[in-house]
Amino acid sequence: MAQVEAKQGTVPVILPAPRPGHWIGVAVVAAVGSWIAYQALTNPGFQWGTVGRYMLHPQVLRGVGTTVELTALVMLMGAVLGVGLALMRMGGGQVLPLCAYAFTWFFRGTPVLVQLVFWYNLATLFPTLSLGVPFGGPKFAEVSSTAAISSFTAALLGLGLNEAAYMGEIVRAGLLSVDAGQGEAARALGYRPMQAFRVVVLPQAMRAIVPPTGNQVIGMLKYTSLASVVALPELMNSVETIYSRTFETIPLLIVAALWYLVLVSLLSAVQAVIERRYRRGADPAGARG
């Protein structure tokens, strides 16, 4: 103890390293930032008054609603099918992994825009959709394809199947990140296979699944704007409809951009909450999380 005190006077104080680049960086950011602010405030082309007028316009709000609804349903479909695909890929046997692999290969390998337009035009391939025995057997129910495949259905199928292919890989990576001993310990305790998956393996896989899934949701929110090509009145399509009539293109694009930013911010907050929930027990100190 005495020795430590005696030496303390000779121990040098450590100063931070000089960082000249830091101040150059600050100057550049300040210059660019003030130019953007100056433009935003003084350039009349932005028409902030018009932006304000359209932010809560009923047609825009309906578009926001459709975008949110489509994103939610697409992600739900993607997540459910994705878990199924991951389980098929990782389970035993030959047929199921191959089917899952083929699905992923096809839906990840073709542009989502092509898939959207394809589903929308399904009627040219199959004029009617029927439920019955294939290869000319009896039919129990029949509808025309144009009636069955609305813009919304086409968008849901096109985006959802594509999303499932990506979610399948995300879920698979998450499941692979969980130690094999976990499922084994659960089985040894007598958990049935689905119980072991749901109670022991999946909650731990979620730690690796949630961050990339957050990326997917946020990406999908904006990808839904592709559905404007099949005439679905989502957010982007709604503002397009308005500015093609009023020619207030820039302010309406700003309206759309602001709405996307609002939604993405909300989603990021939700993601943070979910991540905290699945971090339980993860760090040795304060594992209460």
Binding site: L189, Q195, R280
Partner: protein, 259 residues
């Protein structure tokens, strides 16, 4: 049952064979442990000890032979003179009565210690939560960790985790406990606390099959010792005879190195 001349053994492994790819890992294993008996399984690494233990609770199916626990065939059943593998959900029910403790503890890191111990009895056996909680608290006391009920596994030392893993297995009130090198992943100074818990458990009359490298422990606790080499049981019998005076030269050289 009472009329039978002798009680059936708690575990009976009869001529069990298992291949992994081209590798014949188990080549005709026969092993028995009576009710309340502790059998220790020794042998060099790669001999097939873990594989044998995993066949006993059908974590892996064996290719040939039958494992019976308390008279019931595990993982398969006889129908019309033929043996069929059981469906996984039926095997699960059998596993619920056989506890297993792993080398790497395998506690569930996302659950508290108490939930680790309570979840299976509630979820798998459908027992009432309050009753299970009381039993769990008693088991945690028994392994000396009553105050850790609210902790998460990662906040505990290896020795503490392994003791919780033992409590978790005991919470299912198994008839048989399997241990696969329960102290091999522990720092030397933590080995004793886990072995003490297992010794105390032996004293309560629990039937146990223990794979271990702790020869001294086997000598103290085992009623029967078996030494496995290359997929066969090279020597088995009371610990005194097998450990002091082995006949098989492979067993002799293994023990010379292990002691």
């Amino acid at each position: 049952m009472d009329a039978l001349p002798a009680a059936p053994p708690m575990v009976a492994v009869t001529d069990v064979w298992k291949a992994r790819g081209r590798n014949q890992v188990l080549r005709g294993i026969n092993l028995e442990a009576a009710r309340g008996e502790v059998a220790c399984l020794l042998g060099p690494s790669g001999a097939g000890k873990s594989t044998l233990l995993r066949c006993v609770n059908a974590l892996e199916p064996c290719d040939r032979g039958i494992v019976r626990v308390d008279g019931t065939a595990i993982g398969c059943e006889e129908r019309g003179g033929r043996w069929y593998r059981l469906r996984e959900r039926d095997v699960s029910r059998q596993r619920a009565g056989i506890g297993m403790v792993f080398q790497g503890f395998n506690l569930f890191p996302h659950m508290t210690v108490l939930d680790n111990v309570c979840d299976a009895p509630v979820r798998v056996l459908g027992q009432p939560r309050t009753e299970v909680r009381e039993r769990a608290q008693r088991l945690l006391e028994q392994v000396g960790l009553a105050e850790k009920a609210a902790a998460y596994p990662r906040q505990l030392s290896g020795g503490q985790q392994q003791r919780i893993a033992i409590a978790r297995a005991l919470a299912m009130q198994p008839k048989l406990m399997l241990f696969d090198e329960p102290t091999s992943a522990l720092d030397p100074h933590l080995v004793g606390e886990v072995l003490d818990v297992i010794k105390a458990l032996a004293a309560t009359g629990m039937t146990m099959l223990i794979v271990t490298h702790e020869v001294q422990f086997a000598r103290e606790v085992a009623g029967r010792v078996a030494v496995m080499v290359d997929g066969v049981i090279a020597e088995a019998g009371p610990p005194g005879a097998v450990l002091r005076d082995p006949k098989d030269p492979r067993v002799r050289s293994f023990l010379a190195r292990a002691l």
